[in-house]
């Protein structure tokens, strides 16, 4: 019944628990720390969207990337997914060149660490999933059909 796995290097628990018996943690006993998702390599045409930065600034950044490369990948995780979608659509609206988009979704594994606030508790972690959206926005390359 216990959700706590042995304290290992990755700190991930091994068993699944039925949702009816989910143990809530006492905020006085533990502090929840969300671990950052694993950092993915970011090529120059990758844009990761977050909820804190100004929307206009992120839009400007997308335009800047589009100047140099033909396609741009927009990633949004969890609460930033609607913002990422909004960004992609605004990009299409406001751009001079015609743009197409293609969307995929994925699941990202996140780990939460529970840090004990007092002597009695123990470190443990829980894994949870979150959804992410990846939008590829690309310029249409003109195929010259008139050439003989």
């Amino acid at each position: 019944m216990s959700e706590r796995a042995s304290d290992s290097a990755t700190g991930v628990k091994q068993e699944q628990v039925p949702s009816a018996k989910k143990e809530r943690y006492d905020p006085e006993e533990y502090q929840l720390r969300k671990r950052l998702p694993a950092r993915l390599p970011s090529r120059p045409n990758d844009v990761y969207v977050n909820t804190k930065t100004n929307f206009k600034a992120q839009l400007a950044r997308c335009f800047k990337c589009l100047e140099t490369s033909n396609s741009i990948h927009i990633h949004g995780l969890g609460a930033a997914a609607p913002k990422a979608i909004n960004l992609a659509l605004q990009l299409q609206l406001k751009s001079n060149t015609p743009l197409e988009h293609s969307v995929t979704t994925s699941t990202v594994h996140l780990i939460d660490d529970f840090e004990p606030q007092y002597d009695s508790g123990d470190f443990y972690s829980k894994e949870r999933q979150n959804s992410a959206v990846h939008i590829k926005v690309y310029k249409l390359i003109n195929m010259d059909m008139d050439r003989k």
């Binding site: 304290d7 290992s8 290097a9 990755t10 700190g11 905020p27 006085e28 502090q31 720390r33 671990r35 950052l36 694993a38 950092r39 993915l40 390599p41 660490d113 840090e115 004990p116 606030q117 007092y118 002597d119 009695s120 508790g121 123990d122 470190f123 972690s125």
Partner: protein, 706 residues
């Protein structure tokens, strides 16, 4: 003709007696041979050489003389006094690293050097602190570059000046003795079950024995050894050198106060590992990738996957000099992959004998031998295959734990003494950016991490540091001419150089004979931050506590020693509020004093002149004492007088900012400071006013309990 020629020889006898001839001539012969053998010439040997054999250099170099005459020449040169002192070697030769180390050994009694000192000294501005010469800030890289290193790459700091204390003994005895030193309400302590098996590093604030109401000694980190039985355990405590002495005194008193029989039963042993271990700190998203370059290929994959904060990993690595890349590489993130194998926390580093053995290897297998072998490799810059003299070096890699709401990934590397330069170069070449004390301070300011390297404001060490800073700032202030000094009296700044917390607490109605502390109780802090002050009893409010806060401004940024004030009820948000200029009663007095002083100096000078001309040396009209007295009086007239902080200004002061600047991580002005606990209920809507020292404008800011 011929007769004349032979006339002279007429008296010559026809035969001579040889013996008679010789006896008479013997004296002449003896005299002549004497003269030949003992020349009493005034000429030196080299002057009697024929012209074509004389050389210019033979005046100082006897090797230019013919061999047979060399000895005699040398003795003649010696007679003319000692030779010139040997030529001082050129600057480049004098500054070679081996000679510098010899120099250092001569002067190392007061100041200790870190092992990486020579590398840092060429690239950093150094300071002397806590008995060590430490790098302060980089000569070439600016403040923003170092901030970017923490935010995006990897910052590397040498923190080997942290002192390690090893305690060995039965587990219960150790915990029992250390319990009075830490307050369980502030968080997990030495005996917390999560740290006992040695897979995680813990941090705890230590106080003087059983006196949690007075200030703490400081923040220390500790590590138990993994894989031991409860009868015999080892505990490492890492503490800052500023309060190392104080901590040792506390430890000795707690262990020494037992009766002798108990000590024999319990057998607790304390060893000071001060110079025996080195520690580097890496902070930044790429920290794990940089470290993984030191590891073997198989361990590398496992390591990248294991990034649990606070986790301790013990690994064995090859000698880093073998795998040093040929030039610096920029580090990239590597994608962590799923891995089945697990890194253990067990390490051979805890064994003192292993550490000594490894320190031996460093001297027996020196750098130039390694470099010689590497130069003979076919492909330049490739890894050296396993050498017979190599032994694997045990490392402890401690992942960074959560210290505040912001988390900066990173790790600490601990390894035996003697290997700092080798590991440092390997990490720098793998993409780490070196940092100094200023970068540590900036990390603490921006993200509130690395708090074990910074001193608490209510501890003795912190107060000493603040006093030193005050002296320095005052000297800088008084060095300016009076016309360009900011007049802190007129601009109503009570504490321009350091903050007097006692004064603040007295003005808010507390008694501070016992001293004050910063509130660290987690439960109370939680209730305060959730705005449930009515749940707290009056008792907590009656105790002189300070609460740590963060203030954020939209426009502008606070400075050090800024005042935090509460707005009045009817103050509208974002309305400009100004402090009127106060009267400076000291101005008149200063003017009179200045005139008096100059006239006094003139009269003393006159008297000195008179006494000189009248040859009456009875009195000494020295003006040094007068100048010293005048200087003290003038300085005290320039400093603002102490006044009631609640009532003297337009808005009541509730606290001060200890460190304020533009926060690069957030993009707005941030101040980290402390306020009086009694003022917390009076803050409405988390809005306060901030006034920078030497200014009159009150800026609106948001306050948050951190």
């Amino acid at each position: 003709m011929t007769d004349n020629k032979y006339k002279m020889v007429g008296n010559v006898p026809s035969d001579i007696s040889v013996v008679r001839f010789a006896t008479v001539r013997a004296q002449e012969i003896v005299a002549l041979t004497k003269m030949i053998e003992n020349p009493q010439t005034t000429k030196l040997i080299f002057q009697k050489l024929p012209c074509h054999m004389r050389r210019r250099a033979m005046s100082h170099n006897p090797n230019r003389m013919p061999r047979l005459l060399r000895e005699a020449h040398k003795s003649q040169m010696a007679k003319s006094g000692p030779a010139l002192k040997p030529k001082r070697p050129r600057r480049k030769y004098r500054r070679r690293p081996s000679r510098l180390l010899e120099e250092y050994k001569k002067r190392s009694s007061k100041m200790s050097w870190l092992e990486t000192h020579l590398w840092h000294a060429k690239r950093f501005h150094m300071t002397a602190k806590w008995g060590y010469r430490l790098p302060e800030k980089s000569c070439a890289r600016g403040h923003r570059f170092c901030h970017r290193s923490v935010a995006e790459h990897c910052l590397l700091v040498d923190i080997s000046y942290l002192c390690c204390i090893e305690i060995q003994g039965p587990q219960n005895a150790i915990i029992h003795e250390l319990a009075p030193l830490c307050d369980p309400k502030t968080g997990p302590t030495f005996g917390a079950s999560s740290f006992l098996n040695g897979t995680r590093e813990g941090r705890v604030t230590i106080f003087q024995k059983n006196s949690f109401s007075r200030g703490p000694i400081g923040l220390v980190t500790f590590l138990w050894r993994h894989g031991e039985t409860p009868d015999m355990r080892t505990l490492w405590i890492w503490c800052h050198p500023a309060f190392y002495e104080q901590f040792l005194v506390e430890l000795n008193s707690s262990y020494g106060s037992n009766s002798d029989s108990l000590i024999e039963q319990i057998k607790i042993k304390i060893t000071l590992n001060k110079g025996k271990l080195n520690r580097f700190r890496l902070r930044g998203p790429l920290a794990h990738s940089v470290i993984s370059n030191l590891l073997d290929k198989e361990i590398r994959k496992v390591f990248i996957a294991s990034q649990s904060p606070g986790f301790v990993a013990g690994v064995d690595v090859r000698d880093p000099r073998m795998i040093l890349p040929q030039s610096r590489v920029k580090e990239h993130t590597s994608v962590p992959s799923q891995c089945e194998t697990v890194i253990t926390s067990r390490s051979r580093l805890w064994d003192a004998s292993v550490r000594d053995q490894i320190a031996q290897v460093r001297t027996s297998f020196p750098d130039y031998v390694v470099n010689g072998r590497r130069s003979q490799l076919l492909v330049p810059g490739s890894e050296l295959p396993l050498q017979p003299e190599e032994i694997p070096i045990p490392l402890l890699i401690v992942n960074a734990s959560h210290e505040s709401s912001d988390f900066v990934p990173g790790c600490d590397v601990i390894f035996p003494a003697g290997w700092a330069t080798a590991f440092w170069l390997a990490l720098i070449y793998s993409g780490g950016h070196a940092g100094g004390l200023k970068d540590v301070e900036s990390m603490n300011f921006e993200y509130r991490i690395c708090s074990d390297l910074c001193l608490e404001v209510d501890s003795n060490a912190g107060k000493t540091a603040a006093a030193e800073q005050k002296v320095k700032l005052m000297e800088d202030y008084f060095r300016k001419p009076p016309k360009t000094r900011t007049n802190f009296i007129k601009l109503a700044t009570p504490f321009p150089f350091s903050i007097d917390w006692n004064r603040l607490l007295i003005d808010w109605g507390y008694q501070v004979e016992q001293g004050f502390t910063v509130l660290r109780d987690k439960k109370l802090l939680n209730t305060l931050s959730l705005n449930k002050q009515n749940l707290l009893s009056e008792f907590t409010f009656s105790y002189p506590h300070l609460v740590a806060v963060t203030i954020r401004l939209k426009h502008g940024s606070p400075r050090d020693f800024s005042m935090i004030c509460i707005p009045k009820m009817d103050d509208k948000f974002n309305s400009p509020i100004n402090e009127p200029i106060h009267q400076d009663p000291g101005a008149k007095e200063r003017k009179i004093l200045r005139q008096q002083h100059s006239s006094q100096l003139k009269s003393l000078a006159k008297k000195r002149k008179e006494s000189r001309s009248s040859d009456d040396k009875v009195k000494d009209f020295c003006s040094d004492a007068v100048i010293a007295i005048h200087k003290e009086k003038m300085r005290s007239l320039w400093l603002p007088p102490s006044c009631n902080l609640k009532t003297s200004y337009v808005r009541p002061v509730i606290g001060f900012v200890t460190k304020g600047d533009f926060g690069l991580s957030e993009g707005k002005g941030i101040g980290r400071g402390y306020i009086v606990i009694r003022s917390v209920p009076q803050i409405s809507a988390s809005l306060v006013l901030v006034r920078n020292p030497g200014t009159s404008l009150y800026m609106w800011a948001e306050i948050a309990l951190c």
